[in-house]
Subunit: 247 residues, 2 copies
């Protein structure tokens, strides 16, 4: 254990923020730390759009699922996987028509690059006493979001991120047993699924405590509900229309 | 600035390790820190396979591009995006045939979850004085790697990660100008591409220094070469065969 691991182990998403502003300098230092994350072959395939315009915030809140904290957080960032910059850089030396930006591989590369940088940024923000929450809901109406932000081809909004000073102290959510997640030398289906039952218990106990006895839906029941919902089925056609994953 | 941001700003990939072993306890603490990263709707859609078997290491090294450090690093982890556990958990309460695990959305969710956890793990490892490097080459022959690791459907190897005590002190690689990466309220193509020319200069200077004057290929030339290479075009059919991104 050390100070850094201690901080990582204390992470919880924050969905209620004080009115205290977060300076632009802080945002820049958070993003700079994000940029230092590893990047596949140095492609740095991401762009971050900070939304300070109140009208635009309200619009994004509506599109992403109406969570008040999207409008209210001091800082709201939209993390975009971005192959546009790369494609323009490459076009200085070769024809765009010869590029493979449209491969599934490059979609994966851009998505991973963005997530690595965002997680570094989240760690940096928390080290400054700030709290964060990722907003996957930004993909609920991804086409409208992309238009609102004037994203060009080969750029897609991956997730949002609210940042601010915490005005709540949520419990830590337990995670799957380590043995269900960490394998040795090959994948052992039995070991992976053996974590489900104990985690159902642990997550039920957590929910019960967090909701003051009101709910305790086991994890596997939540996951069943989630996996049986036809959520964001527009992603495939949206990404293809934007020049991604054609081959 | 604080100790944590200072560490993040000093990240560089390590490709040469001392023989000093990394304890299993350390690996577990690194993975536990990884697990505390944010996860989309708590799906925790990843599995990590630690490869200690020397023969398996040699095989993976061969498949991933023959970098010696894959065989030689004290720890080698394969980070897998994993919807199998989730699908099995959901199947306790509903029919597998009704699940949407095969959507592009769920591929993105699993890929992001894996990357967030891996970046947290990288930060934890570095806080312990260790060095890491991500290995995208694990996708070079992804089908053979999946077979080697006995991965079931709905699991794919996203990247490898070498971990060990650094036996080199590489220079920090400069990143794109902040102004090319951080936008305000909407995407400004002009601003995004304006970073290319100055970064070509900065990255050339870096390469020149690192190679003792031997090479200074500008970033945009490297990117042109990279984007014009038909690399890992098997990803689309591989992922579909494994049950991903069918709709």
């Amino acid at each position: 254990m050390n100070q850094i691991i201690e901080q990582l182990m204390k992470h919880r998403s924050i969905r209620k923020f004080t009115a205290e502003p977060v300076s632009e300098q802080m945002v820049e230092s958070i993003i700079s730390a994000g940029q230092m994350a590893s990047t596949s072959s140095n492609v740095q395939a991401y762009s971050i759009i900070s939304i300070s315009d109140a009208q635009k915030r309200a619009k994004l809140m509506e599109l992403a699922g109406n969570q008040a904290y999207i409008a209210e957080s001091p800082v709201f960032l939209v993390w975009c996987a971005d192959l546009y910059r790369l494609s323009e850089a490459a076009a200085l030396h070769s024809r765009k028509a010869d590029q493979y930006a449209d491969s599934v591989e490059n979609l994966i590369v851009a998505t991973v690059d963005t997530a690595l940088a965002a997680q570094n940024a989240a760690v940096a923000a928390e080290s400054l006493g700030l709290g964060v929450v990722f907003i996957g809901g930004i993909r609920n109406h991804i086409d409208a979001v992309a238009k609102e932000l004037q994203l060009p081809e080969l750029v897609y909004p991956l997730f949002g991120m609210c940042i601010g000073y915490p005005d709540q102290e949520p419990m830590l959510r337990p995670r799957l047993p380590l043995s269900s997640v960490l394998q040795h030398n090959s994948y052992d289906k039995q070991q992976v699924t053996s974590g489900i039952a104990p985690y159902d218990q642990a997550s039920s106990a957590y929910l019960l405590a967090r909701s003051n006895g009101k709910t305790s839906v086991p994890w596997s029941v939540q996951m069943s509900k989630r996996l049986n919902e036809p959520v964001r089925l527009h992603m495939k056609s949206f990404l293809q229309e934007r020049g991604f994953m054609k081959r």
